[in-house]
């Protein structure tokens, strides 16, 4: 179809005057002629204790081939038995994405040979997904957008083939074989690499948020395949698509799309035809390369797995899962803006994960200085957490202690920078009394007028020229005086009072 459209387009070129055409090309970016169409498939490993069809552990990082029962190994005579928790997790994600939950379900076999696929088929729900439709809402530069989902289905992961461990052999680790996955498939409704970036970020936040997947892309717990095509703007049919596999970071999703779209536009612009291919992303130079053409595609011979009885989901089972769902990030972001007067930027950052959001809500029970809470959490505390690779769930600083710290800063008893550099580190080590620390370290701001006036006099005496300039009308110098007084007082002088007193004195 893409070829067909390109043909009509080139016909149009000849009906347009050459002069006009060259002007057009100069004036508009070539890529503006095309619309990008992207569908994404996200594979998320479910955080269950055991595999999808047997009792083996799915823990990451074990010695190779140690989580392998006869069932995982596909030994003759073994049978699968469905892990109910995995089914519940898939439903949970479906409910979080507003999907329709299919009541009658079965698993199918996808048949193909590969050394890391022990049974010679993968148990999947390719044609009859447990969750149908639905959407994920993302923030874009032009507001919110719903990315429509085609489905979410359950399937088992394959093992891992490592081709570079040994010179002669491919090494296979079957620990991962049988790990439960959900595949979250969008409609082809994503139109830029930025949208794709936002969508994957949001989907990743969601699976982590509801606790069904750890979202770790480096360890492969979350992987993404992108189906990419281009078409002339206004065209209603889809162009030939290329599938880019195994994108293991959100950045790579974006880079792969950008490279692929550019590659496709160049092909079409040069009169070529895009071939349907499966490609892989090379992160070392942000390019993609072909792994196979459509002709080599497998016929997977799907059929209902006769080893697994079809299963029916009761309303109460689904309702219980619905009730277990936490408030979702987008709801919470809205609540943070409306109830606490936060900016969308702060609200969004506070909803990066459940631990952060919960911590904020906890502190807000003890303090109404909501903006200050956000500033503290997203500023100095976050910085500390990043340095120690920890998160809010393991923070020693108690929410009420942070509220106390904010209270004494807001009351002017200590200034913000002293509080963040000197008091906070103590609190992060488990000390629970900010005021006591401030006292012990002699950090309380002095608002005693006599003491302040002594510091003011000392400062002003040291720079008579500046004082004279100020008096001649260079009022901006007041900041310099305040700074000097801060220095002399070692940060203890209350800047507000100092300013008032200075203004009096220099009248």
């Amino acid at each position: 179809m893409a070829f067909f459209i390109a043909f009509i387009y080139s016909n149009n070129k000849f009906t347009t005057s050459p002069l006009l055409l060259s002007l057009q090309i100069e004036m508009t970016n070539i890529s503006d002629k095309y619309e990008t169409v992207i569908g994404l498939e996200i594979h998320a490993q479910l955080q269950t204790q055991t595999k999808l069809f047997c009792g083996d552990s799915i823990a990451f990082g074990a010695a190779p081939n140690t989580h392998v029962s006869p069932i995982t190994l596909g030994h003759p005579g073994t049978l699968p038995k469905t892990n109910k928790v995995a089914v519940a997790y898939a439903i949970k994600m479906g409910l979080a994405c507003n999907c329709k939950i299919e009541r009658d379900n079965y698993f199918a076999r996808k048949n193909y040979f590969y050394p890391d696929l022990p049974k010679g088929y993968q148990i999947s729900q390719h044609t009859t997904p447990i969750c149908v439709g639905g959407y994920v809402t993302i923030n874009t530069s032009t507001g919110q957008k719903n990315i429509e989902l085609n489905r979410i289905h359950i399937e088992e992961d394959a093992g891992k083939s490592m081709h570079d461990l040994d010179e002669q052999f491919t090494c296979i680790d079957l620990n991962r074989a049988g790990t439960p996955l959900i595949e979250i498939v969008t409609e082809p409704c994503i139109h830029s690499s930025d949208e794709a970036f936002e969508y994957v970020s949001e989907a990743r936040r969601l699976v982590q948020w509801i606790g069904v997947c750890d979202g770790n892309m480096e360890e492969g717990s979350l992987r993404c395949d992108a189906n990419i095509s281009i078409r002339l703007k206004g065209a209603t049919t889809l162009g030939t698509r290329v599938e880019v596999k195994n994108l293991n970071s959100i950045r790579n999703v974006k880079k792969a799309i950008e490279f692929e779209v550019q590659r496709m536009i160049e092909i079409v612009e040069n009169g070529g035809t895009i071939i349907q291919q499966t490609r892989s992303f090379d992160a070392s130079n942000d390019t993609t390369f072909s792994i196979r053409d459509k002709e080599d595609a497998n016929d997977y011979r799907y059929f209902a797995d006769p080893d697994l009885a079809p299963f029916h989901l009761t309303e109460s089972f689904i309702e219980d899962i619905r009730k277990s769902l936490p408030a979702l990030p987008l709801q919470l972001i809205q609540q943070f803006q409306q109830s606490f007067g936060l900016t969308i930027y702060d609200a969004n950052n506070l909803c990066a994960d459940t631990a952060t959001a919960e911590y904020f809500l906890e502190v807000s029970r003890y303090s109404t200085h909501y903006k200050a809470i956000a500033n503290w959490m997203l500023g100095p505390i976050k910085q500390q957490l990043n340095e120690t690779a920890k998160d809010f769930s393991t923070l020693l600083l108690l929410p009420q202690t942070l509220a106390e710290l904010i209270a004494i800063v807001e009351a002017g008893k200590v200034n913000f920078s002293v509080a963040s550099y000197k008091i906070l580190p103590e609190l992060l080590n488990g000390n629970n009394s900010p005021l006591a620390i401030a006292e012990a370290m002699n950090l309380l701001q002095v608002s005693d007028t006599k003491e302040l006036e002594r510091w003011i006099d000392e400062a002003l005496e040291g720079m008579p020229d500046k004082v004279a300039e100020y008096k001649r009308g260079k009022k901006g110098l007041i900041g310099l005086f305040v700074g000097e007084i801060k220095k002399i007082s070692k940060g203890k002088a209350d800047p507000k009072m100092v300013t008032t007193l200075l203004q009096e004195k220099l009248k």
Partner: protein, 477 residues
């Protein structure tokens, strides 16, 4: 004590001290040794069986509670996993494969004090009707060594037939227990689909396979079924239904049965005239005894074998994919070949001709472009048959028919004509297609001196009725 008559009589002899388990196992090992030419066993667990026997004798001496199958000598078809023992499916593909777990049925046998004496020869991967498709050579019918014992569980049938064990386990996907029972003149019971766990049974066609039982009497078959049936955490297709005490529920209290037979089955031109005649006489006898026996129309008889072979080969093509030479089983000795060639060579060398034929057939019927015409259509026929069976059993207690259209044939007679071989399954595949229990009862003898049986089929999970009716029929003649 010997010849063996029934489990109950044997256990009485044990408790009265007339015989010991060690004596018994010794006897059966001798029988096996004397009948090696029948090739019913691929491996005999002689030392182990003797050791188990002496432990059981000790247990009895100490007055400990005894299992339901205390001292019963059992042989298992070589498609059933027995922890620490080889399980080959009579195939070169996994000739040297050792199972690292027990099949649930084996676990239950052992928990009730059974002694497993060896593994039986059979058609490779349970595919065949004559036990001629084994990588370990053909099995011979003890009544006439020039004839086949039937298949695929031929070795298990002959083991009981020739007195080499008391009962044996086979597997029945389309008649693989009932048909060899018919050819060998013994009882062959296929339970309802889902009655016995399939965990540890090497799969041929998962939605058809059931472990079945060979025995001399319906009483022994019922007791064995009682032991091996029931729920299993490792098989999600097994029924949650409670297992009745089959052995204690064999008495029908002179019930008068209402039986049906398929008119088309008895009019089928492939049916041996003498078998037809004897069955008709038997029907007359039943009627004379006050039972109702009526012909019913079954216009889909011609479709059952094609439907069966489309669906079973489709499942088999997938079930046998795991035998790829990568993790276990035969791997080609060819070097420096790519992955696809490794698969091709390993599987071509490891699988026999019939297995390859069925894998290819199954792959074909699932291939895009043919899928709907074959696989989908066959599934629809299966659904219709299921509904038909429900209708029939709403009106009748059981369906009776010949088990097989002919008696045991001579070796090689049908080897070159797979379709003729497949058509021998015409009466048995129906029970597997719809999942009902069925039994072949050794009631008849042909003028060619070979035995043949009567097949009785009851509704889903009506094994109690099936056993009771079988007992009535066995005592009728």
């Amino acid at each position: 004590m010997f010849p063996f008559s029934s489990i109950q009589a044997y256990q009485n002899s044990l408790s009265s001290g007339i015989v010991t388990c060690v004596d018994t196992v010794t006897h059966y090992l001798q029988q096996i040794g004397n009948n090696q030419q029948l090739n019913a066993f691929i491996e005999v667990f002689a030392d182990e069986a003797l050791e188990a026997a002496s432990l059981l004798d000790e247990k009895r001496k100490q007055g400990k509670p005894l299992g339901k199958l205390h001292g019963v000598v059992v042989a298992i078809k070589d498609v059933i996993c027995y922890n620490g023992h080889k399980v080959s499916a009579a195939s070169k593909m996994i000739e040297n494969f050792t199972s690292i777990y027990h099949a649930t049925a084996v676990e239950k046998l052992l928990a009730e004090d059974a002694i497993i004496i060896g593994r039986n020869n059979c058609d490779e991967f349970a595919m065949g009707s004559s036990s001629e498709n084994s990588a370990f050579g053909v099995v011979k019918n003890a009544l006439d060594e020039s004839r086949v014992p039937g298949g695929s569980s031929g070795g298990s049938a002959v083991a009981v037939q020739a007195g080499m064990c008391m009962v044996s386990l086979g597997s029945d996907t389309g008649g693989s227990v009932r048909q060899p029972a018919d050819f060998c003149g013994i009882v062959g019971l296929k339970p309802s689909y889902g009655r016995v766990s399939r965990y540890g049974l090497i799969a041929y066609a998962s939605s058809f396979d059931q472990i079945g039982i060979f025995a001399n009497t319906i009483e022994d078959a019922a007791l064995t079924l009682e032991v091996i049936a029931g729920v299993d955490d490792y098989d999600s297709t097994v029924s949650q239904k409670e297992v009745p005490s089959y052995a204690a529920l064999l008495d029908s209290d002179n019930k008068k049965y209402k039986l049906a037979y398929f008119k088309e089955a008895l009019e089928n031109e492939a049916l041996d005239a003498e078998i037809k005649q004897q069955i008709l006489s038997f029907i007359a006898l039943l009627k004379a005894q006050g039972h109702t026996v009526e012909p019913i129309n079954f216009e889909w008889l011609d479709y059952v074998v094609p439907t069966y072979y489309i669906l079973t080969t489709a499942e088999a093509s997938s079930n046998l994919s795991r035998f790829d030479g990568v993790r276990f089983g035969h791997q080609t000795a060819q070097k420096n070949i790519d992955l696809t060639e490794l698969y091709k060579a390993s599987r071509s060398e490891g699988f026999g001709k019939e297995v390859q034929r069925r894998i290819m057939l199954g792959t074909f019927v699932l291939s895009s472009g043919y899928y709907d015409a074959y696989f989908t259509k066959a599934q629809q026929v299966r659904q219709l048959l299921y509904q038909r069976s429900k209708e029939i059993f709403a009106d009748y207690d059981a369906i009776i028919s010949p088990t097989v259209p002919a008696t045991a044939w001579k070796f090689g007679e049908k080897s070159d004509n797979p379709t003729a071989m497949y058509l021998a399954d015409i009466y048995t595949v129906f029970a597997n297609l719809v999942g009902i229990p069925a039994v072949s009862l050794p009631l008849f003898k042909h003028s060619n001196s070979m035995p043949f049986g009567l097949q009785v089929m009851c509704s889903h999970f009506e094994e109690v009725h099936l056993h009771q009716l079988s007992k009535v029929l066995m005592h009728l003649k």
